[in-house]
Subunit: 156 residues, 2 copies
DNA sequence: ATAATAGCGATAATAATTCTCAAAAGAAGA
DNA sequence: TCTTCTTTTGAGAATTATTATCGCTATTAT
């Protein structure tokens, strides 16, 4: 029995809850609830991918062509969501910066350097050691990230 | 007794050895041994910092003004060194891409989000788990990186 | 020393991200 | 619903980071 758990694409809360949280957050900072912000949240929620701003923009143009969402709005909204801890950004080596909705449990990533496939996993032993290390070095941990690069099963 | 080891700034090989390796590498790929490549290697060797290309360029202009090394050469040489596994690049959240000479033992990083200080450490337990995880998921590990973000002792 | 070739610096080009601004939309209250 | 105030938006300019181009120079092998 392995203690490596995979498959973290399932959401920890449903969309309505998430949207509710978002609205509360916006009101609290007297920001407005706009259709652009809503469809960006929804699109992130419905995507299992780790999205680059550019890819997200393309998705939005496909799904909501009538809105003509601008790339600047995508960047602005991603920053807003990241600042509010609703999305996380990841920097995967050559692949550049990507975003994923935070409405998942914390997890780390395995990246195939051949086909680019990303596998999510979590390992309790590592999570625990990370906390211990921070403690031992007199550090208050806020966040951590770990990536394993290599060749996936399919590619070999 | 902790099993977290810190302080990895010491080099695992001396500069002459490193330079020798570099010359061999260059010859093998019929690349030329130039003064620019030499001072870049030397400057990286003599720096304990994790350097952005821009910072390295400034260092070089200070220490070797007569060479008037161009920024393009810095980028080119860093890429060459990275491709040859002599330097490693790191992406520290907001701080952007930084490089460090690989002539150190493998290690991970703790980054203070307040003052930017970077502490290096290695933890054998985590290293081992990383290998196991890759194995269990049918993955051939090539590399891995881990960062812990938080507030350092001084900043609190 | 010569010839062949790779590397250099300057700078143009590209890519990614942020800024600016005038018009449009959302929130709150009358 | 209408009005007013404030925030947000899209378009495109500006900025930043990185890469490509090119004529000249430095290095290497002979
Ligand atoms: Mn993920
Ligand atoms: Mn380091
Ligand atoms: Zn693969
Ligand atoms: Zn600090």
């Amino acid at each position: 029995m392995s203690n490596v758990a995979t498959n973290f694409t399932q959401r920890t809360i449903n969309y309505d809850q998430l949207l509710g949280d978002f609205k509360v957050l916006l009101k609290k900072n007297n920001l407005k609830f706009t259709i652009q912000r809503e469809v960006i949240l929804e699109t992130l929620y419905n995507s299992d991918e780790h999205l680059a701003p550019e890819s997200l923009h393309h998705l939005l143009q496909d799904k909501f062509p009538e809105l003509k969402i601008g790339i600047a709005t995508v960047y602005r909204t991603l920053s807003l969501l990241e600042d509010s801890d609703m999305v996380t950004s990841l920097s995967f080596g050559a692949q550049g910066k990507k975003y994923e909705l935070g409405a998942k449990n914390h997890h780390d990533h395995l990246i195939c350097t051949s086909c680019g496939t990303i596998t999510e996993f979590v390992d309790e032993e590592i999570e625990e050691r990370q906390h211990n290390i921070a403690d031992e070095l007199g550090f208050t941990m806020q966040d951590h990230s770990m990536q394993i690069y290599g060749i996936c099963k399919n590619c070999k």
